[in-house]
Chain length 501, copies 2
């Protein structure tokens, strides 16, 4: 190890410890903490967050980073160390660029504005939320301007926080391609909506049996219960303390069989990524997925491409029928597969099917761009939103709660996040196309043998954590950087067959 | 607030945050964390513990403490602030007195020695554990000597870490009194052991119904589920993040009805204490119980004095019978009350009844004293242990696993802790005697009305946290400092009636 890097190590270790503690508080809040704990506990989390910032943002660390970035030092660094320095430098610049008092004021604002959003959504009252949203946008513009390169759009800075590989031009091309193909495809599919029956999905399904089956599914796919736990929370999520402690949650609905099943497959996809990260990389700044998009690619590969395939369900569908014979004994495997892939335009992103999902994202991407370029006025967002839903999905929200107010992201200041979901779907399709060339994926699934798939993903992607970025990984694994074509072709192929188009 | 205290506040806040994080990691390890997480997570906890130490033990804090201890500053301090300074000064002296490298070596030793103890207990092999125990004792002697006042025994220093009010002379008198009375009483009771039938307790009791009933019991006594949670762990315990987040665990045994019931009452007693601590005191150095013994007094007051009384069970026993009609329909309330109070000598402290419990403690107290005075050689402890069990309880362990190896405390270096359990029982009896003078305790219990009891304890004891010590509280509440008489009289009265002695 380089002597300079050795000097940096204690700062990195401390930051890792504080970050892990913050994650544990987050987990605990979502799964365990009692209702009235929040105000007192947030004081603790605030102090730990301050300490995180202080132990990374100081002159000693700045000097060490600069020294390590010099050519001579770089040669003495391992590739992991270089990746850590790159990430640290990025984090440093981001945190340093914002004056501490503005940073604190912004954090106070988002904590208030998130509550305001929840109230506005509940009361279907966009006007109540709008003033908060305006302030948040002002802050985000200002914060982005502190870091923008010459001529760079503020929105591009925000996009870069989640995905460094794609600028606005890349994403415009990416989304145009998707939009062009999928808007038409979805319209064709909508017309044939009646050809697929899914009524079985909305019968009563005993919750305890759902829990058992979902736990079985997680283990079947490869969730390692010695290195992870499953709990329950209002919305399913994945969170890790390190590669030996990866946690997912699920949420169960009695009259919706699919909901928890595809949530647990999705979160297990995230969890496998984190469990497979190398021991040498975990507990460092690059000890997590390469990007939001790359992470989402793994959850979506398992949830949609694998988890909604007939080959995946062939060896295990009987087990599900055995759990609910009264509901499913007359539902054949083929019927079930058509049911879980049924697509039709809907208003709520989180409940959208695989085909229409990206259109929800495109709408958000286009609106976020307009917000930050000044083309869209905050007061007019509900109209803009509704028009785009009509244009791309052919339906219009009947109120703002199921329209502009549906997502929590903006109330926390998370702009630039949404595109990662669509990038994830496209990355998944591109990797899947490659996997099919390399191995008999369907045969493995038919045999109930997920191991070779999981090991391939581990060795090709997961183990590296964030030591490589999305396009580096894609280039190495598939020979190309991100291309929308695989995703579009996968969806066209699948839905044309499913609906006999 | 004094200006000097204001300068100290950020250090106290940081220490509080790190301590709360440590507590959450502890909770998580016992209730949630996956099996293989420990090695990686312990790195995080180690760093946070170091930061805790560093933010309290430094020249700035030392100077501020000294300034605040000066007469002039003291007058400007509130009573809470004075209590915080006193506690900080004590913590400072304790942490400062041990050289960091010795402190680290000792922590490494206890982590290894705890595993060695677990193996030795499993294999019934005291010789395997003895060398570790010797080293631990050497460290504890040395650490105690760093802080001992002139002529003070090392063991007295250790006792003071758990309970500042009682020195060896006090405890000798206290335990002599108890021993004299209870050894005889227990012998009389043992002879009439056959007069109480308890076979119903060891039938099969559905675990889900046990969970439900124990949750009901916690709420019945006053556990506030908006400010607390109940989980499961191998051994029941209570842990708090602050007064709005108090957590207890329970552990269920299918063929032992009592085990979980009295555990949950015990832990709820601890939890009420923590939930009732004033908002002004929580999240400070004195934001917990006054001492180990005072804490244990509240758990034992509820578990034994209240929780094993006929008045307590009169309004709720039917509910228990309804949960298990097949097992309990022929067990009358009177039969049940005799069963839950049955006493007989046994070998394992944690399973001991209320009458014999303190004799287990006396044995440990006497042996710890001999260890630290040099009278007892580590290699001869098993013999010493067995002889004392024969003398006080009339029974001899058949092996070391159920003898000298049964408790985990020494393997962590916790010497001086055991007496707190007996102090707790005695404090509970003394407070209970006073309560009976002040209010119709039995009538409240018969009415199922725990509120006046709980509110009395809150206002007389709980709300102050550790701003007062055990004897201060006892003096204010009962007019006297700790006296063994109330405890001895309570037990004599109870058991003479129960066994018609």
């Amino acid at each position: 190890m380089s002597k300079t890097f050795e000097k940096l190590q204690p700062y990195l270790d401390k930051a890792m410890a504080f970050e892990t503690a913050r994650n544990l508080f987050e987990w605990d809040e979502q799964t365990t903490a009692p209702f009235e704990a929040a105000d007192y506990t947030s004081k603790v989390v605030g102090i730990i967050s301050d300490e995180y910032r202080k132990c990374l943002i100081n002159d000693d660390v700045r000097k060490l980073i600069n020294k390590l970035k010099e050519e001579k030092e770089q040669n003495e660094l391992s590739s992991n160390e270089r990746a850590i320095i790159k990430e640290l430098d990025k984090t440093y610049k981001e945190l340093e660029s914002i004056p501490p008092e503005e940073y604190r004021a912004f954090n106070e604002l988002t904590s208030v504005s998130n509550r305001a959003w929840a109230k506005a959504k509940k009361d279907n009252n966009y006007e109540y939320f709008a003033p908060y949203l305006k302030k948040i946008i002002e802050y985000k513009k200002k914060f982005a301007s502190y870091r923008a390169k010459k001529g760079q759009e503020p929105y591009e800075v925000l996009l870069g926080d989640f995905e460094e590989c794609f600028n606005i031009k890349d994403l415009d091309l990416f989304f145009d391609k998707i939009k062009k193909e999928l808007v038409t495809l979805l319209k064709q599919v909508s017309k044939k909506s009646d050809t697929i029956d899914k009524s079985y999905n909305y019968l009563k399904y005993d919750l305890e049996k759902q829990r058992d089956f979902c736990r079985y599914l997680a283990g079947y796919i490869g969730f390692d219960f010695n290195r992870g736990v499953i709990a329950e929370s209002a919305h399913p999520f994945t969170l890790q303390l390190h590669n030996h402690d990866v946690r997912i949650t699920n949420s169960f609905i009695e009259d919706n069989l699919e909901s928890a099943i595809f949530s647990v497959i999705h979160e297990t996809g995230h969890a496998l990524y984190e469990m497979n990260i190398d021991d040498a990389v975990t507990q460092t700044l690059v000890g997590t997925g390469a990007s939001m998009g790359m992470h989402e690619s793994q959850s979506r590969l398992f949830e949609n491409i694998i988890g909604r395939s007939e080959a995946f369900w062939t060896p295990i569908y009987d087990k599900l029928v055995d759990a609910y014979p009264e509901n499913l004994k007359n539902i054949s495997l083929k019927h079930f597969i058509r049911g879980i892939n049924k697509a039709e335009p809907s208003l709520i992103r989180t409940e959208a099917d695989e085909l229409s999902y990206s259109l929800h994202i495109i709408i958000r991407y286009e609106i976020e761009k307009m917000i930050f370029s000044g083309e869209a006025d905050v007061d007019k967002l509900p109209d803009l939103w509704n028009k785009k839903y009509e244009e791309y999905l052919g339906i219009t929200p009947s109120n703002d709660s199921e329209g502009i107010l549906q997502d929590t992201h903006w109330s926390y200041g998370e702009f630039g996040y949404f595109p990662s979901y669509a990038i994830g779907s496209a990355v998944a399709a591109q990797i899947y196309a490659k996997m099919k060339d390399l191995m008999p994926v369907d045969q493995y699934l038919l045999d109930g043998n997920i191991t070779p798939i999981r090991e391939y993903l581990r060795d090709a992607i997961h183990k590296y954590g964030a030591t490589k970025n999305t396009n580096q990984i894609l280039k190495e694994v598939t020979g190309e950087e991100l291309k929308a074509d695989y995703y579009v072709n996968y969806l066209k192929d699948k839905y044309e067959k499913l609906y006999n188009l």
